[in-house]
């Protein structure tokens, strides 16, 4: 199987994201980067499929040259090849999807995997848009994925917590959700091997987008806490509030 995993370099989940001086983008000071959280489920799914069915996993990303770090981590984890479409711009989902789709067309692919959402941009759209551009069937928020007889069996979260089972003819696009698997950590032998795997870097062809960011505002400050009283009486009042107001018990 030829599998392509599209990953994004994004701030780590514990990063404190604050609007920067331009008021439009976040301040990169003190922010560490990693593979965007949900993309890790996509990488793990690809490696598991390769282990079961044989083949090759290529990781692909659109981003600044620093993204080679995340691509090498993916190789250290078990992916076979990496390609980076180099661009420093802040692109919306649609233009990102166009750049990725153009590259994917030039590569053999039985399956293209994404995370269902990115932890920074949070538009959860790129995977579906790439599917559209490639004319491929697509399943989103997968929590189960198997391949047999030229088709992918996908289990996905549907409304009301129901689980929906889909069958997609290969090639197809699947976006991955937490719960699909437990992403493995790269090991040190993998990191050393990854050093020897070249990351193919080409300038990205990103079309001009129709979306412009106007402002990035911090969230409103958290309202002050409430002290309901002292002693045993307070417990009663607290339970009442938790039950009737907060509705958590």
């Amino acid at each position: 199987m030829e599998i392509i995993v599209c990953i994004r370099r994004a701030p780590t989940t514990d990063a404190r994201i604050k609007p920067g001086a331009d008021g439009k983008s976040y301040d990169p000071a003190g922010v560490n980067y990693d593979i965007s959280e949900y993309d890790k489920f996509a990488i793990e799914a690809a490696i598991q499929l390769k282990e079961k069915h044989g083949g090759k996993v290529t990781v692909l990303s659109l981003g600044p040259t620093d993204t080679t770090k995340e691509l090498r981590t993916a190789i250290a984890t078990g992916c076979d090849a990496a390609a980076l479409l180099v661009s420093t711009g802040n692109h919306d989902s649609w233009t990102t999807a166009q750049a990725l789709a153009a590259k994917i067309k030039s590569l053999p692919h039985d399956m293209v995997l994404f995370g269902w959402n990115s932890v920074d941009a949070q538009s959860s759209a790129t995977g579906q848009m790439v599917a559209e551009l490639l004319g491929l069937p697509c399943a989103t928020v997968a929590v189960g994925l198997e391949v047999a007889g030229g088709a992918a069996a996908v289990e996905r979260l549907a409304a009301g917590g129901n689980r929906e089972k889909l069958s997609l003819k290969l090639p197809c696009v699947v976006t991955c959700q937490k719960g699909l698997n437990k992403p493995r950590q790269p090991n040190l032998t993998g990191i050393m091997a990854a050093k020897k795997t070249p990351v193919e870097e080409t300038p990205a062809q990103v079309p001009a987008g129709g979306v412009a960011t106007l402002r990035l505002d911090p969230p409103p400050p958290r309202p002050a806490g409430k002290i309901v009283g002292k002693g045993p009486e307070a417990a009663k009042a607290l339970v009442g509030l938790l039950r009737n107001e907060a509705k958590v018990i």
């Binding site: 514990d14 770090k69 040190l188």
Partner: protein, 394 residues
């Protein structure tokens, strides 16, 4: 307490390669996931967390600088140092396990062993399918191993080993012991040779040393040899005299100089976080002058230690490191880590003595780290010799 934040006041990160940082972050994640949740329980029980042994093998930290042909990761020495730093940020016992396996068992097999010995043991030790220990110290000879009384006498094709070793890390868990013994007269340290003594060889016995108040999450043992027949092919062909064991110790001490930074960083960060949250006399503990003075001292010493070890790693990679330089780093970094641990313990007040907050564990562990692999006194004597040309210990 919040997530661990490693201090990097002098932007030393920028001196590390992307791969070095990647290795460090990987081991840091491993320690967060596999060591931190279980270490308190094991320390209290006085047991090594054996459940992490296969995982350490899988991670590739064991013998990480040795070549890939023996199943190792083939890393540079800065990356190897960072591995030690991260493991000891978890616990000195976990780092000791890995140090002994890597520097005191795999390194001598690689540097002094025959090709058969390397092929037989290195892949197994790298993947943690076998565990090793290093027997140099004896009940009566610690700082002065030249005095050892364990002897090996040739009998036909075998060597017959008699004697005892004490304070041996990993002893009871080991499949193979690197044992140093004199093959000549008791006053002839030049006759010291190294042997691979295998578990189950008749006459070879081990006993765990219990009741330690330090390095509790580490196995320490006595080894006994009563007419143990060790075949000739189990002797290292390329190590003669005290140079053999001392060569291993240089490797291990190098790693310890980094490991101590890890323990120091853990204590500093815990103290910093605690001081920020704890309110005393109406304001955070961190806002009081004496606390700031303590934190400033801790961070300064840590930063100096980081630079010392980083430079030492570069020298080692260039093949220019001397064992005197290693003595300085081991001596300094362990001493400052212990000092930092003690001050952190103080900053945490009563919570500082609770195992829940980790600093007392690091503090007690570092007492062992200060003593093993050459005590602080002995390293200062080594430096004294480097400075004056006069060895004070002979």
């Amino acid at each position: 307490m919040g997530k661990f934040e490693s201090p990097d006041f002098y932007a030393i990160d920028a001196l590390l390669s992307e791969d070095d940082r990647n290795v460090r972050d990987t081991v840091r994640g491993f320690v967060d996931d596999n060591v931190m949740p279980v270490i308190e329980k094991h320390y209290e029980a006085g047991t090594f967390p054996t459940e992490i042994i296969p995982k350490l093998g899988e991670l590739g930290v064991l013998g990480a600088t040795l070549p890939e042909e023996y199943g190792c990761a083939g890393m540079n020495n800065v990356a190897y140092g960072l591995i030690n730093q991260e493991l000891e940020r978890g616990d000195s016992g976990v780092r000791s396990f890995s140090s002994v396996q890597s520097a005191l068992v795999m390194y001598p097999i690689y540097a002094y062993g025959s090709e058969e010995q390397k092929k037989k043991w290195l892949p197994k030790l790298a993947s943690a399918r076998a565990i090793g220990c290093f027997g140099l110290t004896e009940p009566d000879y610690g700082s002065n191993p030249a005095g050892m009384i364990t002897r090996a006498v040739k009998d036909g094709k075998d060597w017959v080993l008699n004697g005892a070793k004490m304070w041996i890390t990993n002893g009871n868990m080991s499949d193979v012991a690197v044992v140093w013994a004199k093959t000549g007269n008791s006053d002839d340290p030049k006759s010291i040779r190294g042997f691979l003594v295998e578990k189950g060889m008749p006459g070879y016995d081990v006993r765990e040393q219990k009741h330690k108040a330090s390095l509790r999450a580490s196995v320490t043992s006595e080894l006994f040899f009563a007419d143990v027949r060790v075949p000739e092919e189990n002797m290292f062909p390329k190590a003669e005299g005290l140079k053999g064991p001392l060569g291993c110790l240089t490797q291990a001490r190098y790693g310890i100089s980094w490991g101590a930074i890890g323990a120091g960083m853990a204590c500093y960060d815990l103290a910093r976080q605690y001081a920020a949250e704890r309110i005393v006399f109406g304001k955070p503990l961190a806002g009081h002058q004496t606390t700031q003075h303590k934190l400033a001292h801790m961070l300064t010493e840590l930063t100096k230690a980081q630079l010392l070890s980083w430079r030492l790693g570069k020298l080692k990679d260039e093949g220019k490191m001397t064992h005197f330089q290693v003595s300085m780093a081991k001596m300094n970094n362990v001493a400052i880590a212990l000092d930092i641990a003690r001050v952190a313990r103080e900053i945490l007040g009563a919570n500082g003595i609770s195992l829940e907050y980790h600093v007392i564990r690091h503090m007690c562990n570092l007492e062992s780290v200060k003593t093993y692999e050459g005590t602080n006194d002995i390293h200062s004597l080594a430096l004294g010799q480097a400075i004056t040309g006069i060895p004070a210990y002979s």
